[in-house]
């Protein structure tokens, strides 16, 4: 049991990168803030490389067993870093030359560090620290980039965040009390013998806090508001990156406590089902594309919770879960990037005729949305297939049925968006800005993410091998 801080190199790189951007950005003139962006990108790429190198090595734990460097942590680090890199691509169009540019980049990096901590921790106290490290920069990001409606979104996010932070700490306190420690290995051994009611309160409190961060039912209300109210950069980030850390943390936590008590897997299945159903039904009649996507991410959290119900019961559960995370991140970023490339098209009907004016952007949108539906051979299809298979393999065949039914439900509202985009334009239809200008960056990001989503699906076999490995508690 030692410190071994070198194992946290990716987190350190991103955090130090954030500090450099924050301090250095204050000394950069407005038109040369791109240097801050470049520094942020370098930090994220460095973290990716460091995480990949760590993944190639054996599983280890750092800081006296409170932080696991295993396949789940490694995958979450890489997905979070690369997704934040894509978010920088969206930001390059929206924020370039804005007064708070480098501050936003710094906050993005700090929040990403928190995401990595959340994903890797195997101790409840570090979990709380990670939660706060994600939450606090997030409030700033939502508020800074959103203008007037962003203030409301930030307020809502903050209030929900404060509430769920309290629930999380309450849960941690109760679990500490009944188990006599906060280490996961200890919880695994001590909880089965502890009073069931207290354990129930504690576990549900922790799950509530993490579900806020992930944007899952029942603490999802801030997601659609924030996605709609804030800017494109913040919306892309907050619906993608925090989920990565929070969901990996949920997986690790549920895997820990379900070793002694399998009924927690059923709870995970029920949470998955409610998120899927609520998110899909609420998305049905939305007319704002960002709000629709916001609800769709709630549903996607449900799909992502499906393999959690098979944690430890099926060998497919962990790799399918991590694969789906990567696939979801790409598809979701692509969809949000399209909305960021068309910032003034805030109604689904505004997209009518997009395919004639901007075929590339329409194609990226199609790939993103079909990807979220789970159309083969896109990456989310492989994710949905393997997660549903894992659930059935783990003894929850009904969850596979729920996944399929919800996929059909989701197709309808995605179709409401991309069907007009490919329809004939009306005579007095919305005018689309030509390619070029500030929207080039988000449009290019959408293209990159959509292409990657296709590539990841076709080359799924290569990645899969890297995602198989034991989970540390």
């Amino acid at each position: 049991m030692q410190m071994r801080p070198a194992l946290l190199l990716p987190e350190i790189l991103v955090f130090v990168g954030g500090l450099v951007v924050l301090l250095g950005g204050s000394f950069l003139p407005r038109q040369r803030q791109w240097i801050a962006r470049a520094v942020a990108a370098v930090a994220l790429l460095g973290a990716t490389v460091a995480a990949a190198v760590a993944m190639a090595g054996p599983e280890q734990s750092a800081f006296s067993g409170t932080f696991a460097v295993d396949v789940a942590t490694g995958a979450a680090r890489i997905i979070a870093a690369l997704t934040t890199l894509l978010v920088l691509g969206v930001a390059s169009g929206e924020l370039a030359g804005s007064p708070r540019e480098s501050d936003t980049y710094a906050l993005l990096l700090f929040a990403t560090t928190g995401v990595m901590v959340l994903a890797g921790t195997t101790d409840l106290l570090v979990l709380v620290a990670g939660f706060l490290l994600v939450s606090i920069p997030l409030y700033g990001i939502v508020g800074l980039t959103g203008g007037r409606s962003g203030a409301e979104a930030a307020m809502k996010t903050y209030l929900m965040g404060a509430l769920s932070g309290i629930l999380l700490m309450l849960g941690v306190t109760v679990l500490y009390a009944v188990a006599g420690g906060t280490d996961y290995a200890l919880l695994r051994d001590a909880l089965p013998g502890a009073p069931a009611a207290a354990v129930g309160v504690g576990v549900l409190g922790v799950l509530a806090g993490l579900l806020f961060k992930a944007g899952g039912v029942p603490l999802h209300f801030w997601i659609p508001d924030a996605a709609q109210g804030t800017g494109g950069t913040a919306a892309t980030f907050l619906t993608t990156v925090p989920k990565i850390g929070a969901l990996v943390a949920v997986y690790r936590f549920v895997a820990t406590i379900s070793e002694g008590d399998g009924s927690w897997l059923v709870v995970a299945g029920v949470l998955a089902t409610t998120s899927m159903v609520v998110g899909n039904l609420a998305a049905y009649w939305q007319t704002d594309p960002r709000r629709l996507l916001g609800w769709s991410t709630v549903a996607q959290v449900g799909f992502l919770l499906v393999p959690v119900a098979a944690a430890g019961r099926s060998g497919l559960a962990l790799p399918s879960f991590l694969f789906y995370l990567a696939a979801y991140a790409l598809a979701n970023v692509a969809a949000f990037a399209v909305t960021a490339a068309l910032p003034h098209h805030r109604e689904l009907s505004d997209y009518r005729g997009l395919a004639r004016s901007r075929p590339g952007l329409a194609l990226a949108l199609l790939v993103a949305l079909l990807g979220l539906v789970g159309t083969p051979p896109l990456a989310v299809f492989v994710g949905k297939l393997t997660t549903a298979t894992a659930a059935w393999d783990g003894g929850h065949g009904w969850l596979a049925l729920v996944v399929m039914l919800n996929s059909v439900l989701s197709l309808f509202y995605y179709l409401r968006w991309f069907a007009p985009a490919f329809a004939r334009p009306t005579d007095n239809g919305a005018n689309f800005p030509g390619p070029g200008g500030t929207a080039t960056w988000p449009a290019a990001t959408a293209g990159v993410a959509a292409t990657a989503s296709l590539g990841l699906g076709i080359l799924a076999g290569f990645l899969w091998a890297a995602l198989e490995g034991p989970l540390l508690f």
Binding site: L316, P319, P359, L370, T375, P376, P377, F381, V382, L385, T386, A388, T389, W392, D393, G397, A400, L401, M404, L405, S407, V408, L411, F412, L415, A419, F422, A423, A460, G461, W464, A465, L467, E468
Partner: protein, 498 residues
């Protein structure tokens, strides 16, 4: 790259090139489409000539490359006597559509790309030997057809396309659920079709086996479609462009029936035998319902669409009968399966021809309403002749492929289960409705929209003509086709009897 991969990926590559290069002109795009489809036909011809029956649960021209080893899914392709005829039929129908569309003015480059894409994925479904690969192509065919209907359709195309997409997507997910069930039940877990056929994973668990079969049958029944899952079909056909309807009826519907012989029957023989009567009943209801509802139609395209429900019903009926295992009935069941596969090919050729001919009607006069025409044989004798040939072929007149198919279906089915004879009136009703349509549209004084109706043009003749000629050829010389199908049907029947 193996021959089959070339056949699947050549049109896909063509589609990408056409879609990615806006500088390609309309004429080049149209002829490139024809050229690629023609090359495909040549390749399939080479395939057919070199084909030798691979034996039970084996495939010819096999190729296997690992894809997602974590779930034992691979890029695995191959053909046998059940799939090769459908591969051939698919390439012929797509070539006919390419020729038919040579004058089509609306975005020809994108249309050509979309159809080449559809051709590639349709062929992919028929050669896939892995459940996930099958599903990938199956699902992509739905996406492609959605855009064909929504983009080039008429009338209420957006709504019909939406209904088609949602309905068939629901079916495809039911199918996927069944696939996952097979995977989880198999030891070791695998999605490989020959391995699953060899393992018959759910033989000892009637409940799970029944549920998995139910999921797969629902999925395939939506696609086929059988009653009561057929409601998406008439609007999709009515509002689709002529070439889209032809491909939808000829190729996409066959994915459903092909799924029965490739997946449901050999992998779940126990469950198939237990539920064979239910399948037979679905078949009989589809035959009679499709025929009687078609009789009530005044819209030509809707009428042909409902006859598809009727014709697909014969196939389901025969496949159900093949599950009724009785002493000494091996031969009869095998005949029924052969008839079903011939019917898939025959219906593909004939219905594609009929839908292309219906498209001519829409082109010239803007309506499919049969009451709006009369005496059309006067101004358009070639059109009338080809339509009559198509109609007679479709109603199963001897000398056409439909007769070979339906005769074998009933000969096999009635021998196994005499009660299936109650589906026979379906043939009579289809005969009546086609004769009535011929009489109403083509005979009598030239009136309504008929005067001035221009006769078939060269490209229309050369797209519809070969399809009907092939139907006659199969009707007169069935051995060429039967020699390929018969060993495979016998193998399938013995797999179901395990």
């Amino acid at each position: 790259m193996s021959m089959l991969s070339l056949i699947v990926f050549l049109p896909l590559a063509g589609a990408i090139v056409l879609a990615a290069m806006p500088t390609i002109g309309p004429a080049v795009a149209r002829w490139a489409w024809v050229a690629v489809s023609a090359v495909e036909l040549v390749l399939v011809g080479v395939l057919w000539v070199g084909y030798e029956d691979p034996g039970q649960n084996a495939l010819a021209y096999e190729q296997q490359v690992p894809w997602i080893p974590g779930v034992n899914s691979s890029y695995h392709v191959g053909v046998d006597g059940l799939s090769l005829p459908l591969v051939a039929m698919t390439t012929i129908v797509f070539l006919a559509c390419a020729v038919y569309a040579l004058r089509q003015p609306d975005r020809p480059r994108i249309q050509a790309a979309l159809f080449l894409f559809l051709q590639g994925v349709s062929l992919g479904v028929f050669v896939a030997a892995d459940l996930i690969l099958f599903f990938v192509f199956f699902d992509l065919s739905i996406v492609g057809m959605y855009f064909v209907i929504a983009g080039w359709g008429h009338g209420n195309a957006a709504r019909s396309a939406l209904k088609f997409f949602l309905y068939t997507f629901l079916g495809s997910l039911a199918l996927l659920l069944g696939f996952i069930g097979l995977y989880v039940a198999a030891a070791p877990h695998t999605f490989d079709i020959p391995e699953l056929v060899a393992a018959t994973p759910l033989d000892d668990s009637p409940l799970t086996g029944g549920l998995v079969l139910a999921a797969i049958v629902v999925g395939l029944a939506v696609k086929t479609p059988t009653v009561p899952f057929h409601t998406w079909l008439p609007p999709a056909h009515t509002d689709a462009p002529a070439t889209g309807s032809a491909v939808l009826a000829a190729v996409l519907l066959k994915m459903g029936t092909y799924g029965f012989v490739r997946i449901a029957m050999p992998m779940l023989p126990e469950a198939w035998r237990s539920w064979a009567w239910a399948i037979v009943a679905i078949g009989i209801v589809s035959v009679l319902y499709g025929a009687f509802v078609a009789l009530a139609q005044t819209d030509l395209k809707r009428m042909v669409a409902y006859t598809s429900v009727n014709h697909m019903g014969y196939i389901v009926l025969a496949l159900g009968a093949a599950g009724l295992v009785a002493e000494g009935a091996e031969q009869a069941r095998s005949v029924a399966v052969t008839g079903a596969v011939v019917q898939m090919v025959s219906h593909g050729l004939i219905t594609a021809a009929l839908f292309l001919l219906a498209g001519v009607m829409q082109d010239r006069a803007g309506t499919y309403d049969m009451g709006s025409y009369g005496g059309l044989a006067g101004p358009a004798p070639r059109y009338a002749a080809l339509f009559a040939v198509g109609a007679f072929a479709s109603l199963g007149l001897p000398g056409f492929s439909g007769f070979i198919a339906e005769f074998q279906i009933f000969a096999g089915s009635i021998a196994v289960a005499p009660v299936t004879a109650i589906a026979l009136p379906g043939i009579l009703v289809t005969a009546a409705l086609f004769l009535r349509a011929l009489q109403q549209v083509f005979t009598g004084p030239t009136e309504g929209r008929s005067p001035g109706f221009a006769d078939l043009r060269v490209r229309e003749l050369w797209s519809v003509g070969p399809l009907l000629a092939l139907s006659v050829l199969i009707g007169v010389l069935p051995r060429v086709l039967l020699e390929v199908i018969e060993p495979a049907s016998a193998a399938l029947v013995s797999l179901v009897g395990r």
